[in-house]
C-alpha cells in the first residue's frame, strides 16, 4: 500500500514507558518451551536450557511444558521478578504466532514489551528436522545463542497509538459482503460497499434452491439486498472498482472508480421502458447465456440497485453512433451516453475483502467434452435451468432439443481435487449441490433416472448427511464411485454415453444419458488478484486469500485492519460464508469501537549528527518518511516523519553514514546474531557492557 497521510501531531499519543527494570546491564531470562511433544519430541529441551544457562548475560533459564499457557506465563512472571530479569528470550513457536502473547506477558511483569526476543524452534526446527534429533537440538542451541545475543542488545521501545476512522470498506457484494456491511451498519458504522457488477447479490442470486433445507436462494437473499440499499449507514457503490488504497490500520485512504453506467442513478426509477424499446439482444450472463437481455438492462428482476446500465460493448449508440431510442423513451431523462467514469475518495478505518469465487470453467478442450457436446452443461447452468425465475421458468430442458431429459448424470470433482489442473483442494459445495439438484429434478420429474459419479461424498455439514441419505433412499438417486473415463455423443440423438470404472464393483460400465451435468468447483474470482495487490494481502497456494492463522485468526490477514470473509478465503457454502462475514464484521467493529489502535514502534531513527544530507534515504523510501531540511546548525540534514515510516529498514541498509537505525533490527543486533550463528567457528562473544557496545568478533 502507498504512503499514508501524515498524522496530526496530537493524534499520535505516546504511551508511557513501561517498566523500570530496563537498566542497561542485560539480565536475560531464557524460557525453552516443550510445546507438549511438538518441540520436546525432537529437540532435547533440557539440553537447550542447560546450554542457555551458560550463555553470557543469562541469569535465569527454564524449560516449560507449555510456555504460552497460564502456568507457563506465571513462571515467566515469577522468574522475571525473582531474577531481576530485564531481557527475555522465549524459545518456542514462531514469533508470528505468539509474539503478542509474550509481549503482553512480560509487560505484566513490569517490563517494556519490546525487550522480548522469540526464538523459533518449532516451525523452523523441530517440525522440519523431525528425523535428526541431535542436529535439531544443536540447531536449537545455536538459535537460542543467537536470540540471547540479540536480546542483550534490545532497547525498550514505546508503542504509538493512532486513531481509527469509524468507517469500513467492504469489497464485494455477494452474500458475504452484504452480511458484513449490514452487521457493521447496524452497529452504527459508516460502510462503503463496492461491487464491480451492476447489481449486488453475487453467485447466490443465481442459485435455485439451497442445500440442505431447500430454501429458495433469491427469496432469502433479496430481502437482505433491499435492507442494505435502504440502510442510511451504507453507501452502495455498485458497478464500481477499488482503484487504490493507501495508508495503514485505522487510516486507509480509498479511491473507488465508479464506472459510467450511462444512466443517472438518481434519476432512474427502474421502470424498464428503456429496455422495452432497445433493439439489441445479447446473451444474458446472469442466465449463463440461456436467455437474452437488451443492451440497456438490469441483470435480473430483483437487482439492487434497480438501476439500468448501458452495456457499452453492444449499445448501437456506441457502436454506430445512431440509436437514441432509450433516451427518447425515458421520461425521467436518466439516460446519458456522455456520462464518464467518476473517482470517489473517502477514508476508512477497516477493510473487509469479500470478493468471493467463481465456478471453474473447464477451459481445456476435452474436459468431459464441455465445449464439444451441447448436452454437457455446468452446475451453474443447471441452477439457472432449474430456477423458477430462470430462462425456462424452472422447467428442466436439455440444450440440444429443448426436450425434458429423462436420464441425467452428475460428474463430481470437475476442477476440484485435480492435480493435473493444479486445483488440489476440495470445493466443499459440489457434493451437496449435486445431491440437492438431483432432489429438485426428482421432484419436478419423478420418473427421471439420476446417476451421480463421485470420488467421495462429502456430506459434512449440519443436515447434509441426512439429505444425502434421503435422496439416495427415498428418491432413488444412484451413486457410482468412480471418475468417468470417456464421454461419447450419439450424433443422431445427441445423447451421451458415459464410460466409467465403478471402483466399488471393480467393473467398467457404459450408460447413456440425455443430459450430463459437470459439478464444477470454485476458483478465486477474477478481480481478487487485483484487490490482493492493492491491499498487499497474500494468497495461499490455492490462490485464495490467506488468513493470518488457519485456526485462531481465520478472518484476519497479514495486513492489519484488513479482514477476509467468505469464498475469497476458501471455497465454502452459504452458512459458512455468512458466519465468516459476521466474524469479519465483529473483528472490524472491535477496532473501530475502541477508536484507537497501537502500532508497532518498529520505525527508523536518525542520528542527525552523523547525517550528511545526501538524500539517499529520501530517494529510497516509498512512503516519503525521510525528509530533507536545512539544519539550524548548517547544512542539509534528513529527518524521519515517524507516522509515515513503516519500518522496513531499507534506508538503514543503504545509509553510507550509518546515521539511520532500524529499531529492533539495528546493525548491532543483526551483526550479533550473525556472530552467534557462526560462533562454533569464530569463537564466543561477550555481551555488551555499555549501551552502545561494539559487537565483538
Amino acid at each position: 500500500m502507498g504512503s499514508p497521510e501524515p498524522l496530526e501531531k496530537d493524534s499520535v499519543e505516546r504511551t508511557p514507558s513501561q517498566g523500570t527494570r530496563d537498566a542497561t546491564e542485560p539480565r536475560i531470562g531464557v524460557f525453552v518451551c516443550h510445546c507438549g511433544s511438538n518441540i520436546a519430541g525432537v529437540v532435547d529441551c533440557v539440553k537447550v536450557r542447560d546450554a542457555a544457562e551458560k550463555l553470557p548475560g543469562v541469569v535465569v533459564a527454564r524449560d516449560n511444558k507449555y510456555t504460552c499457557s497460564d502456568l507457563g506465563q506465571e513462571e515467566i512472571l515469577k522468574a522475571i521478578k525473582e531474577g531481576d530479569v530485564n531481557r527475555v528470550v522465549i524459545a518456542s513457536c514462531s514469533p508470528r504466532l505468539h509474539e503478542p502473547t509474550f509481549r503482553a506477558c512480560i509487560q505484566r511483569a513490569g517490563l517494556n514489551p519490546y525487550v522480548l526476543h522469540m526464538v523459533n524452534i518449532r516451525e523452523q526446527c523441530s517440525w522440519v528436522h523431525a528425523h535428526e534429533k541431535e542436529n535439531a537440538t544443536q540447531k536449537a542451541i545455536d538459535l537460542v545463542r543467537m536470540g540471547v545475543s540479540k536480546a542483550a542488545r534490545l532497547e525498550p521501545l514505546e508503542a504509538r497509538e493512532v486513531p481509527v476512522e469509524r468507517a469500513a470498506l467492504v469489497v464485494g457484494g455477494g452474500v458475504t459482503g452484504i452480511q458484513s456491511a449490514l452487521d457493521l451498519a447496524n452497529m452504527g458504522f459508516k460502510v462503503y460497499l463496492v461491487e464491480s457488477k451492476p447489481s449486488i447479490g453475487g453467485v447466490m442470486a443465481q442459485l435455485d434452491k439451497t442445500f440442505p433445507t431447500g430454501d429458495c436462494a433469491i427469496c432469502i437473499l433479496a430481502p437482505k439486498m433491499v435492507e442494505l440499499s435502504r440502510n442510511p449507514n451504507i453507501e452502495l457503490l455498485s458497478y464500481s472498482e477499488v482503484e487504490e488504497v493507501k495508508g495503514y490500520i485505522g487510516n486507509y485512504d480509498v479511491k473507488v472508480r465508479r464506472k459510467a453506467r450511462f444512466v443517472h442513478e438518481d434519476k432512474c426509477v427502474g421502470c424498464g421502458v428503456c429496455t422495452d424499446v432497445c433493439p439489441v439482444k445479447v446473451d444474458n450472463e446472469f442466465d449463463m447465456g440461456f436467455a437474452k437481455r437488451k443492451a440497456i438492462y438490469v441483470p435480473f428482476p430483483q437487482a439492487v440497485p434497480l438501476k439500468y446500465t448501458v452495456d457499452k460493448e453492444n449499445c448501437l449508440h456506441f457502436k454506430k453512433g445512431k440509436c437514441q431510442l432509450c433516451v427518447k423513451a425515458c421520461t425521467n431523462k436518466a439516460i446519458d451516453h456522455k456520462m464518464e467514469d467518476e473517482v470517489l475518495d473517502f477514508k476508512v478505518g477497516t477493510i473487509i475483502v469479500a470478493t468471493g469465487s467463481e465456478t471453474y470453467v473447464p477451459m481445456r478442450k476435452g474436459v468431459y467434452k464441455y465445449w464439444e457436446y451441447e448436452n454437457v452443461i455446468s452446475a451453474l447452468e443447471l441452477e439457472r435451468l432449474l430456477n423458477a425465475s430462470g430462462p425456462t421458468g424452472g422447467h428442466l430442458i436439455r440444450p440440444s432439443d429443448k426436450a425434458t431429459p429423462k436420464r441425467v448424470a452428475f460428474i463430481q470433482c470437475v476442477g476440484s481435487r485435480n492435480k493435473k489442473i493444479g486445483n488440489n483442494y476440495c470445493s466443499r459445495v459440489c457434493c451437496m449441490y449435486a445431491i440437492k439438484n438431483a432432489q429438485i429434478i426428482k421432484e419436478h420429474e419423478p420418473d427421471t433416472e439420476i446417476a451421480v459419479y463421485y470420488n467421495d461424498i462429502r456430506a459434512f455439514g449440519k443436515g447434509f448427511e441426512e439429505l444425502y441419505h434421503r435422496v439416495r433412499e427415498e428418491y432413488g438417486v444412484e451413486f457410482f464411485r468412480g471418475r468417468p473415463a470417456k464421454l461419447s455423443e450419439d450424433s443422431a440423438t445427441k445423447s451421451i454415453t458415459i464410460r466409467a470404472e465403478e471402483t466399488l464393483l471393480n467393473k467398467i460400465t457404459e450408460r447413456e444419458f440425455d443430459l450430463v451435468v459437470l459439478s464444477t468447483g470454485l476458483v478465486p474470482s477474477e478481480g481478487s488478484k487485483r484487490i490482493g495487490k492493492i491491499l498487499s494481502i497474500t494468497t495461499s497456494p490455492d490462490g485464495f486469500f490467506m488468513e493470518a492463522h488457519p485456526k485462531l485468526r481465520p478472518v484476519d490477514t497479514a495486513a492489519d485492519g484488513v479482514f477476509v470473509a467468505g469464498c475469497a478465503q476458501a471455497p465454502k457454502d452459504i452458512p459458512d460464508s455468512v458466519a465468516q462475514a459476521k466474524a469479519a464484521a465483529s473483528s472490524a467493529a472491535a477496532l473501530m469501537l475502541t477508536g484507537k489502535v497501537r502500532i508497532e514502534p518498529l520505525t527508523v531513527a536518525i542520528d542527525e549528527d552523523l547525517c550528511v544530507g545526501c538524500g539517499l534515504c529520501a530517494e529510497l523510501c516509498p512512503y516519503g518518511a525521510p525528509e530533507l531540511y536545512e539544519s539550524e546548525k548548517g547544512g542539509t540534514k534528513a529527518r524521519i516523519i515517524e507516522a509515515l515510516c513503516h519500518g522496513c529498514g531499507t534506508c538503514a541498509a543503504s545509509c553510507p553514514q550509518k546515521a539511520l537505525t532500524a529499531k529492533q533490527f539495528t546493525d548491532e543486533q543483526i551483526n550479533s546474531e550473525i556472530v552467534a550463528a557462526l560462533t562454533p567457528i569464530c569463537g564466543a562473544q561477550k555481551p555488551p557492557q555499555k549501551k552502545n557496545a561494539e559487537t565483538e568478533v
Binding site: 490467506m546 533490527f665 550463528a677
Partner: protein
C-alpha cells in the same frame, strides 16, 4: 564459553556440514519457512534464519560479515517482485544482490554460495527446496575456508 555450546560435534565428522545463514523477510520468506514447518516438510538442519522486516533491510555488509566469519553459504530471501509488503524493498535488495554477486565473484567466492530468493508466504515447499539445493551444492563445493573441516 564452555560446555556444549562451543562444542561443534559436526566439525569432527568426516563429511563437511555446511553452515548457511539465511536472512528472511518477515512477511513472505519467514512466513514461507514457517509454512514449511506447519506442513512438516523436512529439510537439512544446516540453515540459521535471521528475521528482518524486509529483504531491503539486508545491508551487503551483513552478507560479507557472514562469509568472513565462516558461513559456507548465505541466502537473502524476500517477497516476489511486486509483492513486497513495503511496496518495493525487495527490488532494492535485488539491486544489492546483483552488486554482491559481482563482488563475491571478484573475491573468488563461488556464486552458488550466495543466493537471492523470492519465497512467498505460501511457498513452504520452495523454502525447503532452496535449503536442500543449497546444502547439496555446498557439500559438493566443500568448505569456504579449508581449516573449517
Amino acid at each position: 564459553m564452555s560446555g556444549p555450546v562451543t562444542k561443534d560435534a559436526r566439525s569432527t565428522e568426516k563429511t563437511h556440514e555446511p553452515k548457511i545463514v539465511a536472512f528472511c523477510c518477515n512477511w513472505c520468506s519467514y512466513a514461507g519457512a514457517d509454512l514449511a514447518g506447519v506442513s512438516r516438510l523436512q529439510y537439512p538442519s544446516n540453515v540459521r534464519v535471521i528475521r528482518v522486516m524486509c529483504s531491503g533491510r539486508v545491508d551487503p555488509a551483513f552478507v560479507l560479515k557472514a562469509f568472513e566469519l565462516g558461513a559456507d553459504g548465505v541466502i537473502v530471501a524476500g517477497c516476489h517482485p511486486a509483492d513486497c509488503h513495503y511496496i518495493n524493498g525487495n527490488e532494492k535488495a535485488a539491486m544489492r544482490g546483483d552488486f554482491l554477486s559481482e563482488f563475491l565473484e571478484d573475491a573468488g567466492i563461488e556464486d552458488q554460495r550466495f543466493r537471492m530468493e523470492w519465497i512467498a508466504g505460501s511457498e513452504g515447499q520452495k523454502f525447503a527446496d532452496v535449503v536442500k539445493k543449497m546444502v547439496a551444492e555446498l557439500e559438493r563445493l566443500g568448505p569456504l575456508c579449508e581449516e573449517d573441516v
